[in-house]
Amino acid sequence: MQPTTEQRLWMYRHMVLSRYLEERIESLYMEGKTPVFNMAKGPIPGEMHLSNGQEPCAVGVCAHLDPEDIVTATHRPHHIAVAKGVDLDAMVAEIFGKATGLAGGRGGHMHLFDAKVNFSCSGIIGEGLGPAVGAALSRKLQGKPGVAVAFMGEGAANQGAFHEALNLAAVWQLPVVFVIEDNAWGISVAKQASTAVPRNDRRAAAYDMPGVHVADNDVEAIFSAAGEAIARVREGQGPTLIEIETARLAGHFMGDGEDYRPKGEKEGLKQRDPIPRYRKQLLDAGLLDDASDDTLVEGAHARVEAAIRFAQDSEFLPPEAALEAVFV
């Protein structure tokens, strides 16, 4: 399955948008945190898990999704939220904890919910799988269109929730696709030190579903694999497991010294940064030139800056609003 020109440019634009958003978050996050790094300080306190390097997974999958389709994402959610079409202003405001945020500041960057595009994420490894299976069941029972995609890191494949959810989805033949973003590290523990199989797509065999492996963080290979899997679930042919080799260009969270990485690994990953690679691919194919690239990048930057201004200009809810929204 090959993307159209329009899909190629959509994927590139959303990778650029996500990357620039994270670059801006990275610099704003560090405000107030130097010279002494204190996670509670600055305009964006708390943990911050950047997804730069993993953008191909988000755009290659979400290029096939409509707003009605359900996505559950992880503690590292920004690239997927951007690709799924989450309201960028409200998302950034939530990351800042502001009243105009998706949850008025009750959730923060690991708990982004945008019901308009059926997006949610959570901070616990493997937690989104059950809800994705249930949303898929909901669509089946209601006879309504829409499929579910559960994103997870490779570490989640060692959680019980992973195995329970895959089995349940397979037993009930539900329209759900499981997407593993394999960035090779569970915080500081390497995949080969934690996982009995070299490739998690092989685990699909245990649940009698197709298992697909995508190498080298390749945007169009991801697009193709996801497109085929999503087409199958739309036709009612049951779930698929996809594992994508991707790259975490940053630490597990900001402040991570990354001393556990082998020497030279990070530099190597940066040389294989998927965004310049895809830009070159599009330039070589004649789908992009320097001028149109500049326009696209400037547009993405302007959109991000507008969202950041919106967040910065927004107020905080009064603290006692913390007592609201426990129940509806």
Binding site: I70, T72, G101, L102, A103, G104, R106, G107, H111, F113, A115, N118, S120, S122, I124, E127, L129, G130, P131, A132, V133, G134, A135, A136, L137, S138, R139, L141, Q142, A148, G160, A161, E164, A165, N167, L168, V171, W172, E324, A325, V326, F327, V328
Partner: protein, 342 residues
């Protein structure tokens, strides 16, 4: 939504009342469906889904694999997508394998969405011991669930309340944990508290979640409990009446929200408080009930409050040990005697 307090003469067990409420809601609302272990053709290990599979079929009455994390998580996903699932955690003791789906997803998604995502689901689960099922199949854990914010918690003592609370739980746009006590279910093999099987109207009705009931009026002492404990209190009240004392019995019915007003009004009247709880003694329901009264008005008490609760030990198997540890009417009467002596 119809509400009625009229009770006919047809008696039902709690199990039958739960199944009837569920069936009536499933007829009215195609969004309601049931999932859990052995809730299909078997009708639930404790009888509370009996008849549903035959009437509604396997799509809406779904036997699940033994995968509580997956199917409770799935219920959260389905509820967030517009369905109204009812899921069963067969024994509350099993919460250990799936608590993440319960307290990190079910109970928090509404908050994390600023109230925009509703999670209208019922998690029904069996509680209680007394039949030598040992320490992983006999707990109540009321306090564990009530402690964690974001989920309502109900625990009926009789079939009339069970039907009304079940219907209200299904209607509720929030997650509701429906804790039913095995000794009240009307399953012969568990032994059955006769007082739980009461007249239940055939028509649908709701009981407001968060309202306690004064099930016996009195003026010398307030006995507060829930579920099976209410029946111990009623027997104790009868014994005390034979001694010339008048005990008021408050059936909490709901832990979240907790009806502190009814509690405080009763203790303000009687001046004495004994809390009866089959859950563990420390850090639980009994402490919360006493605090709710005392922090509001300590001067209303004529004596220090007392509690008759399960000791802080795992539940033992041997009947001699388990029965020794469980609350009962004699212990409540003893607590009252000590209160009057001190």
């Amino acid at each position: 939504m119809t509400t009625t307090t009229s009770a006919g003469t047809r008696k039902l067990t709690i199990a039958r009342a739960m199944a009837e409420a569920t069936a009536q809601e499933m007829r009215n609302d195609p969004r309601v469906f049931v999932m859990g272990e052995d809730i299909g053709p078997l009708g639930g290990v404790f009888g509370n889904t009996r008849g549903l599979y035959d009437e509604f079929g396997p799509e809406r009455v779904r036997d699940t694999p033994i995968s509580e994390t997956a199917f409770i998580g799935a219920a959260v996903g389905a509820a967030s997508d517009g369905m109204r699932p009812i899921v069963e955690l067969m024994f509350v003791d099993f919460f250990g394998v799936c608590m993440d789906a319960i307290y990190n997803l079910m109970a928090k998604n509404t908050y994390f969405s600023g109230g925009k995502v509703k999670v209208p689901m019922v998690l029904m689960t069996s509680t209680g011991g007394g039949y030598s099922d040992a320490g992983q199949h006999s707990q109540c854990l009321y306090g564990t669930f009530a402690h964690l914010p974001g989920m309502k918690v109900v625990a009926p003592s009789n079939a009339y309340d069970a039907k009304g609370l079940m219907t209200a739980a299904i209607h509720d746009d929030n997650p509701v944990v429906f804790m039913y006590h095995k000794s009240l279910q009307g399953m012969g093999w568990l032994g059955t508290e006769k007082g739980a099987t009461v007249p239940v109207p055939e028509e649908s009705y709701t009981l407001e979640i968060g309202k306690a009931a004064v099930v016996r009026e009195g003026h010398d002492v307030t006995l507060v409990s829930l579920a099976a404990g209410v029946h111990h209190c009623l027997r104790a009240a009868q014994a005390l009446e034979d001694e010339g004392f008048s005990a008021e019995v408050v059936d909490l019915r709901s832990l979240v929200p907790l009806d502190r007003e009814t509690l405080r009004a009763s203790v303000a009247k009687t001046g004495r408080l004994i809390v009866v709880d089959e859950d563990y003694h420390s850090f639980g329901v009994s402490g919360e009930i006493i605090a709710s009264v005392v922090e509001h008005d300590h001067a209303c008490l004529k004596a220090a409050p007392r509690r008759v609760a399960y000791p802080d030990i795992p539940i033992p198997f041997a009947p001699t040990m388990e029965q020794w540890a469980l609350p009962n009417a004699d212990k409540i009467v003893d607590a009252f005697h000590q209160m009057m002596l001190s």
